[in-house]
Amino acid sequence: MRVEDIVRWILGTPRQSWGSVFRVLTWTVLFVILAGQFTPKRAPQADDFLPTRPGVFEMFLKNGQLREEPPEFEGGEQVLNMAWIAGSTTFNLLAFYDRDDKYFLPIRTADLLMENHDRKVNLYSYNQTSQRLLDTYTVLLEAVSRNPDIIVVTLNPAWLYNSHSIFSRQNVFNARSDLLFTSASWLLWIGVTTPSSHFFTHLGKHVPVVIPPKDYQKAISRRPQQFFGSAKQPTKAHSGESTVCSLETPLCFWLNQAASHKSQPESHGETEAGSTLEELRILVNVLERANTVPESFAATTLQAIDKLVAESGVPVFFYLAPVSPRITEFPAAADGLERVAIAVDNLEQNKSGSNMVFLARIPQARVDSIAFGGDLIHVEEFGDLDRYLAEEINKFLRTQQ
């Protein structure tokens, strides 16, 4: 039986009028609305590879997790509400694949904070692997609006001052596309939204079973600068690179990674720490190209973050995730890392409010206690980083009282 015959069998042979079309569409819409009313909502599911405990709440709505709503923050004097925005540098990444000793830095730090407080510490986790600066910014907008007692933001030094990968594109797609639009951001709007994102956004507002509006993406249109405009920097070829396509532009950068990945079969190999050489090579390339000039995408976005936090009055603790001391084996990348640290130091010195702190450097002794993976950024054993962060967060909280 051909598909056509099956369709004929379902539709039957009666006269097919425009009334039939209207009837079919009406029933479809009614069904979707009814399904939306009766399908229960639920809390977002935590990444199953991350440990959890009572008082830890996943805040990130993942793509494909429909019918979910992030929980409200708990109120009361007896609770310290801590939001933590981070990416893959806060858990032992490889445990996801083949280890059982899963470690999640925010929970460990929250536990240590509880030892020094009479209050219960609730952790509201906005953890998203491959988080980029634009993601951090939009998530921060959401976290700030919930007025927690403190927000901790882990900044990944490799990607922080990088114009090649400014957001995880799929996180912007299908997420309140209407809020992206302003006359100042039409380019971004055209660049990242699609007819289907508009359709599902608007339908989702009225028919929640379709897709829930993602509140953490709201008010992105309030950002003051042209993100795409800042992605175009003067082309500067590194040694050995073609000036036709230097690695200063996102497209060329990724093309280059793909090309050299393909041409270097050995890059699929494993380092002694279990991480692939490919990841190491990419991260070294990324760090070498840290773009900290004031006009860069990252610098302008960080200025917007500074302004946002100062206006909100919410205490926010930013820290730059540690990098393996082995970075010195890659002098250009080490230079890049130093530029990033200096830029974050400058953020601390020029911050707009006392309700934030930018911690650029973690003491060497603490860094030495950490066992890094082969790519120099991801961590296998966190040593006493949790204790150090708990101490620093405590100090910061005392200044806010």
């Binding site: 039986m1 051909r2 598909v3 056509e4 099956i6 369709v7 379902i10 539709l11 097919q16 009028s17 425009w18 009334g19 039939s20 079309v21 079919v24 990968s165 400014i166 594109r169 380019l187 055209i190 660049g191 990242v192 699609t194 007819p195 289907s196 508009h198 359709f199 599902f200 795409f228 405009g229 992605a231 175009k232 036709v244 396509c245 532009t249 996102p250 497209l251 060329c252 990724w254 093309l255 990674q257 793909a258 090309a259 393909k262």
Partner: protein
């Protein structure tokens, strides 16, 4: 990080949302040229959503094809007409063949070149293109064969001189841009010339057909997609798991591909265009010839028209060569690799054996339902055994086959 596999579903969701605007506009526009222009613009916009460079490339490509069509039309009967024709065919084939031969280096050069062209046209467009991660010329194989078909038909006199807007309309016809079918110009010609032919019947049929396609792709194929692991895990799998994985994968492949064809055909029907079928229950074919007449039929039809018949497929002396070249065209359209050479040879062998037995009226099996069921089973098994060649490099496929008899598997 690099997106090699642009999600076709996203493309069709965009087409669906765009159609909400497109449909009333299409119905309201009176002049045929305006409706053709509307479709061309919609196709260009959908390409822009994948990457602006693809929009620029394909618009340029079809403008060039329109120019070539003119040249062929006016030179076909003249001196050196045949040479012109072959030179033009080579030009059209070059990008696709280069891609199939050189693979990633071509993709990178293609991307850089088109991206730099965009920089010359518009800086904002270039900036948007910079943020697009897709680096393959999506849809190039389908577009190339559609262009070839148009030009060949012009040369042999089956098509007259077409205006630029007609060629652009055919080239940028939105439903078939991503995953085919390889439509012929005649399939869209009549509707593009007459007034908008929106009917309740076409609308209902189209909607149901799209829903069918979505169920195939998003429900059935999605559920079976994990079967692809058989091509990497066969070394650790038990014998029955390898076979089961292979069988399930054939269904995943069919449901996914034919589902997208259903969606494209359904969308076209909503707008009043009646495209030819692309699949007709191929796994229930009773012999290999029937299979190739019901699997990716638009490609088979192209190969029959332009290779099988001209190469003497209906002449006894040349029929086997014609069969072989036809199967090679179909196989190498997918990819120019040793595995696809083997794939084409394998199926050509099957077709030649079938043709020989048919000509000599040798029936290995008697007539009857049970015998027909056995024929279907044997044909399906024959096709199934060629799938490793379709999805793996030859060296890995040759490692895979022994695992089907327990060598190298966990059995």
């Amino acid at each position: 990080m690099i997106n090699y596999n642009f999600d076709s579903t996203t493309f069709f969701f965009n087409l669906f949302a765009l159609s909400i605007l497109l449909l009333p506009l299409y119905a309201l526009l009176r002049p045929a040229w305006a409706r053709r222009a509307l479709f061309s613009l919609a196709g260009a916009y959908l390409l822009f959503l994948i990457a602006p460079r693809l929009m620029v490339f394909y618009v340029a490509m079809w403008v060039v094809v329109a120019g070539m069509q003119r040249i062929i039309f006016f030179t076909a009967e003249r001196r050196f007409g045949l040479q012109f024709f072959w030179a033009i065919l080579l030009c059209v084939l070059t990008p696709m063949v280069s891609w199939k031969i050189f693979g990633q280096p071509f993709e990178i050069q293609f991307t850089i070149l088109t991206n730099r062209v965009i920089e010359l046209i518009s800086l904002p467009l270039w900036e948007i293109d910079m943020a697009r991660e897709v680096v393959i010329p999506i849809g190039l194989s389908f577009a190339t064969f559609r262009a070839l078909d148009l030009l060949i038909k012009t040369f042999i006199g089956r098509l007259g001189l077409l205006s630029f807007d007609r060629v652009l309309f055919y080239g940028l016809f939105p439903p078939v841009l991503m995953v085919g079918p390889i439509i012929e110009y005649e399939e869209v010609q009549k509707q593009s010339d007459s007034k908008a032919n929106l009917s309740a019947e076409g609308m209902l049929y189209g909607l149901f057909r799209v829903a069918f396609g979505l169920i195939k792709v998003l429900v059935l194929a999605f559920a079976l997609a994990g079967s692809a692991a058989v091509f990497s895990n066969y070394g650790e799998s038990e014998l029955y798991t390898v076979w089961l994985g292979l069988f399930v994968y054939t269904w995943f492949f069919y449901l996914n591909f034919s589902g997208y064809s259903d969606i494209a055909i359904g969308f076209s029907r909503i707008f009043g265009f009646q495209l030819k079928e692309n699949f007709n229950n191929p796994y229930f074919s009773k012999n290999i010839a029937e299979f190739w007449n019901s699997w990716h039929m638009s490609l088979s039809r192209f190969a029959q028209r332009n290779v099988f018949v001209p190469m003497g497929g209906f002449r006894s002396k040349t029929q086997f060569l014609a069969i072989y070249l036809t199967m090679m065209t179909i196989a190498l359209w997918h990819d120019i690799t040793l595995a696809m050479f083997a794939f084409g040879t394998y199926h050509a062998f099957g077709l030649i054996v079938h043709r020989t037995l048919s000509e000599r009226k040798i029936n290995i099996l008697p007539q009857g339902t049970a015998a027909n069921a056995l024929r279907v089973l044997v044909t399906y098994l024959f096709v199934t055994l060629s799938f490793p060649l379709l999805v793996m490099p030859l060296d890995r496929a040759l490692e895979f086959y022994p695992s089907l008899v327990g060598i190298g598997s966990a059995w």
